[in-house]
Amino acid sequence: MALTRSALRLFSGRFTQACQVRGYADASSMSLTFAAPTQVLYNNAAVKQVDVPSFSGSFGILPAHVPTLAVLKPGVVTVFENDGSNKKFFVSSGTVTINEDSTVQLLAEEAVPVDSLDISAAKELLTQAQSQLASASTDVAKAEAQISIEVSEALVKACE
């Protein structure tokens, strides 16, 4: 199958498009929907692997991964596409669902490509968050400041 696919790719672009649409029910690929409230990064796209940072540990999702739910931690999501390239996105929080039929829904509150992050702005955010924690008086304010620190630390780490 792989041989025919690459052979077809040599001949005509139209044929490869017809082939790739099929990815959904294959055991060899999974259908990823990676979306944030204001943008769509992948919509039922066939990809090879997705690495996600979650509160129960960072893990990679391959086709036929055991179904599970997880809550995202601030960090970097790496999507390995079928053509071998990989793309990195920073996510602030969200959820990931892996279903029985290898469909994955990665819903992030905010997701940006790592390339568009500015390390100096991230460091500034971190110092701001730390001073916020120092001056926080109520439990709620402390928790909010701690969340800012977690996100900024992850941002700085993602930029490096």
Binding site: A35, P37, F55, P67, L69, A70, V71, T95, E109
Partner: protein, 281 residues
């Protein structure tokens, strides 16, 4: 035809006042239509980007075959609307369904987003209203708004067995469909038939997951509703402008006819007065 026993001049003044006011109304409805058209374009664009997340957030509940719990804790309805009217049937269609639901199932609590549906329900079902969110509709909704509403619902600790979110799905510029999206209680999720298939879940994960998905689903329904509302307002204002235009045409006709009648009457008076003078001589 204006029934006038009054002198022609007075009726003429009345018609011209009426004409001026209808022309003003037409200007207002036309500008409201323009504003709605601009807001609709923006809303539709944002909706397109929000749809995958909204549809994705419902996938788990479908795939895990979560069903409504049995029990007597009642029903929770989250009704999406906004604070502003003049948008056709958008708010009334939601109000109608809520009323029918409460009539069928009196043990229902309603969380209302927006003043309009609150006004519809206040009189008969004020007791069923659990929470009202106001200041909705002026600016486009962002995820943070939905998160605030979700947090308030969670903090209020409303218990329910069955739940639904009512909103208007945007179909085309001229049509929308009032839709119910099921909302499952934490107990329903815990009893889902396919939940054991999902690996290594603890109650913390399920709780965070359902809270986030509540916010996502609310955000999605707010976006759909906003787009339906703007397109419906655009159509309504367009119809109003057209109707005002028809009224202006009819009034202008009447005005001209009345004006000509007045002139003719004056001429008749002058001529008959003159001929009376002549015949006397």
């Amino acid at each position: 035809m204006p029934s006038q026993q009054v002198r022609g001049m007075a009726t003429l003044k009345m018609i011209s006042i009426r004409l001026k006011s209808v022309k003003n109304i037409q200007k207002i409805t036309q500008s409201m239509k323009m504003v709605s058209a601009a807001k609709y374009t923006k809303a539709e664009r944002e909706l397109k980007l929000a749809r995958p997340m909204g549809i994705g957030a419902q996938e788990f509940y479908k795939k895990a075959e979560v069903k409504d719990e049995e029990g007597d804790k009642g029903q929770l309805i989250i009704a999406c609307s906004s604070d502003r009217g003049l948008c056709g049937a958008v708010h009334s269609s939601i109000g109608r369904i809520v009323k029918a639901d409460i009539a069928a199932n009196p043990n229902t609590k309603v969380v209302i987003i927006g003043d309009k549906v609150r006004n519809i329900l206040q009189r008969l079902y004020g007791k069923n209203i659990a929470m009202v969110v106001t200041e909705v509709g002026r600016k486009p909704a962002v995820f943070g708004d939905a998160a605030i509403v979700a947090q308030a619902i969670i903090n209020a600790g409303i218990e329910f067995n069955k739940g639904k979110i009512l909103f208007n799905t945007f179909r085309t510029v001229v049509s929308f469909r009032t839709t119910e999206m099921p909302l499952f209680s934490p107990g329903a999720v815990a009893n889902a038939s396919k939940l054991p298939v999902y690996d290594s879940l603890d109650s913390d994960v399920i709780q965070s997951y359902t809270e986030f998905s509540l916010a996502s689903l609310l955000f999605y329904s707010m976006k759909e509703n906003a787009t339906s509302e703007q397109s419906s307002r655009m159509t309504a204002m367009d119809n109003a402008s057209k109707n005002a235009g028809e009224m202006i045409d009819k009034l202008t006709m009447t005005f001209n006819r009345t004006r000509q009648a007045v002139i003719t009457r004056e001429l008749i008076e002058i001529i008959s007065g003159a001929s009376a003078l002549e015949s006397k001589n």
